[in-house]
Amino acid sequence: MRVVIIGNGTAGIHAMLAIKRNTPKTDVTLVTHDEPFFYSRPEITQLIEDPYTLKVIALPVPGEILKDITLIHQTVEEIEPKTGTLRLAGGARLPYDRLILATGAAPKKVKIIGVPSDAILTMRTARDALRIAAHLEESDAPVILGGGLIGLKIAHTLARLGKPPRVVVSSPRLLSRTLDSETAATIQELFEENGVTFHLGATPKYADWDERTRKGTLFTEKGDKIPFDLLLAGKGVNPRVELARQAGILIEDGGIAVTDSMETSLKHHYAAGDCASIFNHETGRYENRAIWPVAAESGRIAGEAVVGKLISSGRFSAPIARNAITFFSVPMVSIGTVQGESLKTNVYREASRRIVRKIFQENGRIVGAVLVGDIMHAGVLFEAVRQEARVRQIPGWLLRGAPQFSQQTPSMEVLFS
């Protein structure tokens, strides 16, 4: 059987590993138009700091598997499901028995009147990061559009390089989908201490831009005038679904609709990672959730399903948003629902060490958590949210993040009965 995987991001890698581990004889081909090796996408910010870390951000793949697969460095232009072939750029054709689409996502383009959109740099690939590094050398006033995780990740990198940027955010606060307002303010303070300036609630209106000097001024609807010589955007991503749409595969919530075993609406065609929308049994809708652990898990499941080795382990855990990130040595984690009127908040604060731990409950169930400064037991909370654990009182060690000395594994049954 010949399996073709489009994409060598984490979803593609995990699909490949799952296939090769279960049935080493299966013929696996990966097609990618990114770099023809495996690297970690979230780590590309390191390339801005030091272009020679390309080796460091490579992901380890066992050598015997590497030898055994075919990697094609080419763009796929069309899927022909009837004949089971892919048409590659340049005209070559590639037949397949099973196809896994792991095409990931592309950064949203930002349009500002007065600046051509290719002068606004985005960050998704290693090459993007190297381009930013090259432009940064001549830049003194970089401006970042967007106050989400990616925007702040770039801001963090630039601040560490001694070029603290200005960040233009259209919502009234930072990380509006990840944090509640108190912790968002904590993070904002942290960035401001490190020289980053924020323009909150500011929507860009137009810009004066000189192509020769690459310098300009950004005008916002509030009336701010922000000088810049480098524009970077981190405004979220769009799933890459053009190939699937052309082939007539069902699209939901912007991504390729897939079942619990990652199969699309077309038989023998699977999708995984940022490009897929996974069915949420809770809400009854397909949801696209573009985060790394979901991409890895769905990739593995797709691989196992393709070779018929799927060990059904209940429902997929994708629907819960979660992320962990560290800014200026202050770690933070956000899990599940973190804002809303009906939430009961359990808080633990330690101002001197900049620690805020919040656990959110709805009708007695744990539905979300935000941890800043001390993230001990974050995974226990994630599991509690996943199982919608009902607790009358949050155990002290969980709220305070204190180490637990008990000899028992704090299993969910013991904790949340």
Partner: protein
Amino acid sequence: MREIFFVPERCLPGCNACQMACVAEHLKNKGLLSPLSGLPFPKKRQTPLYKHSVRRFFPHPLRCLHCDPPRCVESCLSGSLIKNETNGRVGNNLEQCIGCFMCVAHCPYGAVIPTPAEHVSIKCDGCLWSKAPACVRACPSGALVFTDSETHAETLETQIRFKKRKIQPPRLSPARV
């Protein structure tokens, strides 16, 4: 799969041989002698692993279940967490870890411990490249046992049965590896 079990009654308080063995195992030269005897102050002992097991937390080695599939490994952004395919143990390659702490946010048992100052996360790796964990090899009283859970449950039952019949249980020999 074999796991590490702790039998508290057998533990000799203050012995700490298991902790020493853990530090030694995770030092580059696998020995405590040079750091203990060395002058000036032993730098080699100051690995993140050592510092944190001593100063702030007590990383509980028995907590990691070396899951299959391990959620921590799937969430790892740098590929530093790995599962040894032969013996199933999960460990962290500290040299590659970037301290993003995705693993901390995904382990349902709280077995991964973040060290924000050192930018790495640490966990018990069951000494995944050796035959048996160093702590088990070091324990003089058999308080740490490396076996699978059925065998361990059987052993415990035998002990209890002996006690009920007021017969002295057989003398505890050091853990067999």
